[in-house]
Point group: C2
């Protein structure tokens, strides 16, 4: 095991894997803000080595006197580095490189939420055994120091719930659908044209990316490992513009939420579109921005807002992790914040809630055919223990806000409505997320 101290060293020496958006952004911020970063860290942070196959971009790094390698494995094994910044993406090569860096006594900083949500337990354990740290502030809501808030700032609290808008691409699409009345397809095409969405946007609009982030957030808030497989995921691709209008009339915005909620000792993890009260701060998180609201039993509700993507925005978090490390090494100790905020063995993993028992309020939109279909639909809901808190019928559309009911009742009620004469196929159901703001 090699560990490093900065007691007699003028700089933290960093190597960078990958020179795409995150890598180039980190290179840029370290250069443009060099004096301030040095003053805050207490020593320089020197990017001395880059491994990349992007030849043209690598030239920019080489111009700064940075050694450019082809082979990431050569970089992670290099004895002249204190820390490796993993900015290559993916979960296969990235995992191999990160584990190899750790095995060589290197600290690691990464923005790779997919990697940590999938292989975090293995990676954190390896780092712990080697006495190195894995910084991942950039992995969730890049510019917002939410990892620091959960692992350190809110450490005195039993967390009750955490609700976040953590995927900028889908939030941009939803904002366009809500503000401009665009269809999902049009809003997505616009996002793609602007470079806000990938050619294959499925990880963003399908909720998978938000699930990666939620798994990490929930582990820090409630203890236990990242439990990606336990996250219930619904995307935004089935949403229709008309539901944004109905929601607005009822006082709500539509957002893709990542929700971790402890209820009666059980933990819910879910990603789905939901109606959010217009008056809530989360409803005002628009465009590509991210926002995360956390309720603790001491702090009450706190909320964090900022950019969810971008080269320099991500670099802001990557460099914060580097400075944490530089300060700790300079102080002569090791980093003392556990990877997920709990010391080994101390965190009781909360029990996962069974799906059917999860309670929510709901928004339902039904197309009706007969004159009495609306009344019969409301009857059917009531019969299944899904009383309407509010029902608005106009022409052949019935919009219902239900009271809070368990998922199992909702499922039965929706099955009956789906088969009911006079109710058109293609029932729309969205959850309504209550947010106590203060």
């Amino acid at each position: 095991m090699q560990t490093s101290s900065l007691h007699h060293r003028p700089a933290l020496r960093a190597g960078l894997l990958g020179f795409g958006t995150v890598g180039a952004g980190t290179h840029g911020v370290l250069a443009s803000n060099r004096a301030t970063i040095r003053a805050r860290a207490g020593c320089a942070i020197d990017l001395t080595m880059v491994a990349t196959r992007t030849a043209s971009r690598a030239r920019a790094a080489a111009d700064d006197g940075i050694e450019v390698l082809d082979d990431p494995m050569q970089l992670v094994r290099h004895p002249g580095l204190d820390v490796v910044i993993e900015a290559m993406g993916g979960t296969t090569d990235a995992r191999d490189c990160v584990l190899e860096a750790i095995a060589h006594g290197k600290h690691v900083v990464t923005a790779n939420k997919a990697l940590l949500a999938t292989h975090g337990e293995e990676i954190f354990a390896a780092a712990d055994a080697q006495g190195v740290t894995v910084g991942f502030e950039a992995a969730v809501a890049v510019s917002i120091p939410i990892v620091k808030a959960l692992r350190e700032g809110l450490v005195a609290n039993e967390i009750e719930w955490l609700v976040g808008i953590v995927n900028g691409t889908s939030n941009y699409v939803l904002t366009q659908m809500g503000a401009a009345g665009r269809s999902y397809a049009d809003a997505l095409a616009e996002a793609q044209a602007l470079g806000y969405a990938e050619a294959d946007p499925s990880l963003d609009v399908g909720g998978g990316d938000a699930a990666h982030k939620l798994a990490l957030l929930a582990a820090m808030a409630f203890g236990g490992p990242p439990r990606l497989g336990e996250v219930h995921v619904e995307g935004i691709d089935a949403l229709q513009a008309v539901d944004f209008l109905h929601a607005a009339r009822l006082g709500y915005a539509v957002k893709l939420l990542a929700v971790a909620r402890r209820c009666g000792g059980e933990l819910q993890l879910r990603v789905h579109p939901a109606l959010v009260p217009r008056a809530s701060l989360l409803a005002q998180v628009d465009g590509r921005m991210n926002g995360i609201m956390v309720k603790g039993n001491a702090a009450g509700v706190t909320m964090y807002y900022g950019a969810g993507a971008g080269a320099r925005e991500t670099a802001s978090a990557v460099v914060a992790d580097l400075v944490d490390l530089a300060r700790a090494l300079r102080g002569g100790g090791r980093m003392c914040v556990p990877a997920l905020g709990f010391h080994e063995g101390a965190a009781a993993s909360p029990v996962m809630a069974a799906r059917g028992g999860v309670r929510s309020r709901n928004y339902l939109r039904l197309g009706l055919d007969g004159p009495d279909a609306g009344a019969r639909a409301l009857d059917a809901l009531a019969r299944h223990g899904v009383p309407a808190a509010k029902g608005v019928q106009s022409h052949n559309t019935l919009v219902v806000l239900t009271q809070e009911v368990p998922e199992s009742s909702m499922a039965l009620a929706m099955r009956e409505l789906g088969a009911m004469a006079g109710v058109q196929p293609g029932l729309t159901r969205l959850r309504v997320e209550a947010l106590d703001q203060g």
Copy 2:
């Protein structure tokens, strides 16, 4: 010098000075969340001693097996403590106690913004010399981990500006004036009746408390010591309900802002009521809540929201500082984050902006007497280089939004308007604060 390590120690031993709101809240949160705090800190945090003259409350502490003393000096000198929590308030005895605790090798945690804004430089230097730390997360916007965000999370950024609502009492009064059309006197009386405002509310509504917090925030954002004397302060006590109506019609809310802004290499520090665009997240920070928006050159705009007062809310931050300390001592090193975020000697103190050169947009309300007084007033403004971006006249009232102009031009223009025939005495002027949200 005594320093302490937790390598072979099962607990961080804390002594508490004062058992008022903050002290009792800290005692309560340490008790109610004991298991979670221990799991996160890696060791127990034991409150072993309290010094207080509040006998009845002290009994609650004594019931928990805590030793209760009369004499704070006896506590800060006690060899069995690792850290002293200063919750006595004030700046005289508190200063003596904190310096004595430091001299005896104790770490200090405090929520006392007045103390640190006034004597911070002396206290931080003493702590540095003794190798101990002074935690003050609770001193600004209690439940929001903004100290951590500025000193650590945003450390990669050159900060461009920081705008905060950091006084819950005045924000409650302004929210009531805006929402319910209450007069200042009525809203303040209500706040006092609810216990949200002190019998002598001058530190809150006069802007002094916000200035204490701004001095600390600005030091962390821009470097240099807390410069309380450099903060331009205006309170909310002269505000009239009618201006909230005009502001709302123009698309603005009225808030008491604490502003630190770097402009052309110069730093502005100011606390004053201002018009804030309704669409801004800061405009939605209502009631007793606090919100702070920060613009950095890498992260862009981030925003932090939470309770600005309360026993458990303050304790959330106090305990976070204790856990930071417990983790650092457990890790075998010393705390490695400098008190104000910059390492000694490294932070260039920014030059203060001269008052007359500070530029702002402005809201003006004038009472008019003659039929042509409005046109003459607009002429006078233009003559002094204060062009109106918008002017609305109805009956005998003229409301003007000016373009961005230097304070010196504003002062001259207002002097002329104040002496102009046809313009009634008691001109109202408020600044308009632009907030780029994303």
